[in-house]
């Protein structure tokens, strides 16, 4: 799985590839802007809703029901969702414009020399388990 994000944006763009190395879809994961965690990584909050974009530029919402459930239960604040939904709808309405601004990493289907990674040091996440 390949990901692209700018820390101050309300999404990251995941790239899924087929075993043959062809891009199978972009997956726009809507989330809060990312903050450095002090351990070489980033923290964010998933906002449940996602947008799938096919290589042909067809779009499909995903997990709208999870967004609704999270809102109803108070797990997500309406104010936060109100910030991200206009961004999501803009991308949905014109995915080609969105993709044209996205750096093109379609030729990066995961070189074999990349070794699997372990979890980061426990200090980065253990204090968050509560």
């Amino acid at each position: 799985m390949f990901r692209l994000f700018q820390p101050d944006e309300w999404y990251q763009v995941l790239h899924f590839f087929t075993p043959e190395g062809e891009l199978s879809q972009w997956y726009v994961d809507f989330e809060t802007p990312k903050a450095p965690d002090g351990y070489g990584g980033w923290t964010t909050c998933d906002l449940e809703i996602d947008l799938i974009i096919s290589p042909e530029g067809m779009t499909r919402w995903k997990d709208e029901d999870e967004l609704d459930a999270a809102l109803r239960s108070g797990n997500l604040d309406q104010d936060v969702v109100d910030q991200v939904l206009p961004i999501a709808r803009t991308i949905h309405s014109d995915p080609h414009a969105f993709l044209s601004r996205l750096p093109d990493w379609r030729d990066f289907p995961g070189p074999h020399e990349f070794e699997p990674l372990p979890l980061p040091p426990a200090a980065a996440w253990l204090p968050l388990m509560r």
Partner: protein, 93 residues
Amino acid sequence: MTESHVTYLYPSGHLQAVVPFWSVGAADLVAGWTPHGTEIMYWATADGQDPRSVPLDRRFKGGPDQRSANVAGHHVPSVSAGRVVPGAPLLHS
């Protein structure tokens, strides 16, 4: 190329997931690759099940504080044909 990760937190501050990646980008753009076999972490129900096995009307009931603090370690399976292999407790499947 450096090791990095993204940590997903619920609004309450509870841990949702940790996903490592190789950072291959630069400057203000983060580009990361998570190879097959990478270990990830995702919160689990008290009996160790994928939280998505809990029906939506109960998954968020009572807010995150009602969730189990259990977190299970998993490995990223093969990603093929635009989907994560079923059973993989990734965020994006």
